[in-house]
């Protein structure tokens, strides 16, 4: 007979984990040298990393910062006894000479403070949106930032951005007022039609008139002088900021019960996703002029911004739709049964959850969009890649390759990596334990 009964008399106290489980040595032993195949793999990978680094690092650390041309670089390297044909070391002189151009394009150098100020204000304007701790008062800055930024970068009469901004106030007032006397649908229509009339017919004469009365403004900069990372950030941030709300609306439209609305959204999404961005950019740079009324001077950068935004919106719509599909039906029913109307349910219940689920996809789309801004070099805009081609056409730097593209790639990496880190921070912050 086995004795099945057992009663514990004394409770086992907690002890510290054995050394092999804790501490650095324990970690290495457990994760890198746990058994023979693991040890072999570790050694092979280490060897690989060391051999790659040992050939790249000497190239990176090369004393060519002050050289003025590629030939000068090579002679410096040859004097040091290194291989003078590009393999012996990088030629960083090009970055020293042209880094401002890579950042600002052909923006007048005495006005560099304007884009720099715009960039810092961008950080302040984004803070209340991105971080919980930031002061809510900064949201006022966020609201006027697009207009302020436009004015800082392009300059000109201050009345133009102000009158354009007034259009949004008109939309809001129109909505509130018409909503009160004629119902919400008329309110929505008023909030679309009134500002359109304002922007199309009133803004331009009004701002000219105001400028002749009170000539406040700054030196105007032509669009073709904008370039470099300033241009990439300008297009990228516009696309990022606008594609999310447009994408959300498209995703909701695609789920709508109204067949016409649904059809329009599906067609838009599928069409835009089915066409390469390059094609859309060519449309922006050439075809659009044919459709616009003759004489209208619609800035190329603005057209490109619109195309990039539309392109990203279509992808965003699908990402958001994925998040919506992942929500259980019960969430909609609970919201309905509490008496929340459609928009309140979307804003308070559905979107916070759907967007949270979609964060990785949304950020991927943002990163993709930001890198896609380099495609504008194909239609002749001077983004960092367009400028690189320009610089390489210079006699002094003809033949330089790795240093320029490496630098551009490095800066892009910093931007994209920050976005990716931010998204992980956001996911952790929003985690509610389920």
């Amino acid at each position: 007979m086995v004795d099945l009964s057992f009663v514990r008399k004394d409770i086992v106290p907690q002890r510290a984990a054995p050394l092999s489980e804790a501490g650095i040595v324990g970690w290495f032993r457990k994760n890198m040298f746990s058994d023979i195949p693991n040890t072999i793999l570790t050694i092979i990978v280490l060897y690989f990393i060391i051999s790659v680094l040992s050939s790249i690092l000497p190239w990176v650390f090369s004393p060519t910062w002050y050289s003025g041309s590629l030939t000068e670089c090579r002679s410096i390297l040859a004097e040091l006894g290194r291989d003078g044909h590009g393999g012996g070391g990088a030629c960083w002189g090009v970055i020293r000479e042209r880094w401002l151009q890579l950042l600002f394009g052909f923006y007048p150098s005495e006005l560099y403070w304007r884009p720099i100020l715009a960039f810092f204000l961008l950080g302040l304007a984004l803070a209340p949106v991105l971080f919980e701790g930031a002061s809510r008062k900064l949201l006022y800055l966020t609201a006027v930032y697009p207009f302020l930024c436009f004015w800082l970068i392009w300059g000109g009469s201050i009345w133009f951005p102000i009158t354009v901004f007034a259009g949004f106030i008109i939309a809001y007032v129109g909505f509130v007022y018409v909503n009160k006397i004629a119902g919400s649908l008329s309110g929505v229509i008023a909030s679309i039609v009134l500002p359109l009339i304002w922007w199309l017919f009133i803004v331009s004469p009004l701002s000219t008139m105001l400028f002749s009365i009170l000539p406040i403004g700054s030196e105007a900069i032509d669009s073709d002088r904008l370039g470099g990372f300033m241009l990439a950030v300008l297009i990228g941030v516009t696309g990022i900021a606008l594609s999310l709300p447009i994408g959300i609306l498209l995703a909701l439209g695609r789920q709508s019960d109204l067949p016409i609305l649904k059809g329009v959204c599906v067609c838009f999404i599928e069409f835009i996703r089915g066409v390469p961005l390059i094609t859309l950019l060519f449309v922006a740079s050439t075809l659009l002029n044919i459709f616009l009324p003759p004489g209208s001077n619609f800035d190329l950068i603005l057209r490109v911004m619109i195309m990039v935004t539309l392109f990203a919106s279509a992808y965003m719509a699908e990402v958001v739709r994925g998040g919506l599909a992942a929500l259980p039906k019960g969430q909609y029913e609970a919201a309905d049964s509490l008496g929340l109307d459609y928009w309140k349910a979307q804003r308070l219940i559905i979107m916070p959850q759907a967007l949270k689920i979609s964060i990785p996809g949304i950020v991927s789309t943002f990163i993709g969009l930001f890198k896609d801004t380099t495609l504008v070099s194909i239609i002749g805009l001077l983004d960092p890649l367009g400028l690189s081609t320009n610089i390489r056409a210079d006699m002094a730097w003809n033949g330089i390759l790795w240093e320029l593209y490496g630098f551009v790639g490095f800066i892009f990496f910093i931007f994209c990596f920050s976005m990716s880190r931010y998204s992980m921070y956001l996911e952790r912050r929003l985690a509610t334990g389920h």
């Binding site: 259980p328 019960g330 609970a334 049964s337 008496g339 959850q353 509610t432 334990g433």
Partner: protein, 256 residues
């Protein structure tokens, strides 16, 4: 408990009136000629085999499902496709679901405050006091700042009940509130519902908890194939069922 029940009063005032209601899902006739009158203060348990249309029936009462024929009147408001009427009715009628359907991104307190603040426009502070009052009533005020994912099933269902109560509904609908719960949690939810009944709430409960039906309900309705087959007081219903289907159902559900 049985004594408590005797004292519960049913008034003559009509809370819900359903006449000749029919509903189809596509070509499938789910609800057929439903006639039902519920007075204020009644506790009605709806039972029936799976797929008999119990959920669909109570979901029609707060317009989560549309009906195609017949008339539903809730608290004197006729349920039509008019959105205004639907919103009025939904804020008068609370509903608890089998899977709780709490909002996982909000804390328990926020779950309870959301609808009063956004639908009823109750000031933040007052909504918070109401929420705490009802959380105390369902005996979990100490969980107010946790997220639903951190609570047990029974606690979540009690929060769901508190969340509905915060809208001060005059009628509560329950769709199998205990069938997703482990046995030891069923009791805490049923206790909450008993207390609600004692406070005079008009309740329609779809459930398989026949003990609850016996003790709390003043009427049991048996449904099959989209029709009301039999309804009676609990004693009569359980001890002396008339229809053969009812007998079969009861023998299956009570048989072991």
């Amino acid at each position: 408990m049985a004594n408590a029940k005797k004292q519960l009063e049913v008034s003559d005032e009509v809370a819900i009136q359903i006449t000749k209601m029919n509903k189809w899902f596509g070509s499938f006739h789910v609800l057929r000629d439903i006639d039902l009158k519920v007075n204020r203060g009644e506790r009605i348990v709806i039972a029936g085999p799976s797929g008999s249309g119990k959920s669909t029936l109570i979901r029609c009462i707060n317009a989560l499902e549309e009906h195609q024929e017949g008339l539903i009147t809730v608290d004197g408001t006729v349920l039509s496709s008019d959105l205004k009427n639907i919103d009025t009715i939904r804020s008068e009628v609370g509903m608890c679901f089998q899977h709780f359907n709490l909002f996982p991104h909000l804390t328990i307190l926020e779950n309870c405050m959301l609808a009063p603040v956004w639908v009823r426009k109750v000031p933040q502070k007052e909504a918070m006091e109401t929420a705490m009052h009802f959380l105390e009533k369902v005996k979990i005020p100490e969980q107010a700042n946790k997220y639903p994912g951190q609570l047990s099933g029974g606690q979540q269902q009690r929060v769901a009940i508190a969340r509905s109560l915060c809208m001060k509904p005059r009628i509560m609908l329950f769709d199998e509130p205990t069938s997703a719960l482990d046995p030891e949690m069923i009791k805490e939810v049923l206790d909450t519902m008993v207390q609600l009944a004692e406070d005079g709430m008009t309740m329609l409960v779809v459930t398989h908890e026949m003990g609850f039906a016996r003790e709390v309900a003043n009427r049991v309705i048996f449904m099959d194939e989209g029709q009301i087959i039999e309804q009676n007081e609990p004693e009569q219903f359980f001890d002396n069922p008339q229809n053969d289907r009812t007998k079969l159902f009861l023998s299956q559900i009570l048989g072991h």
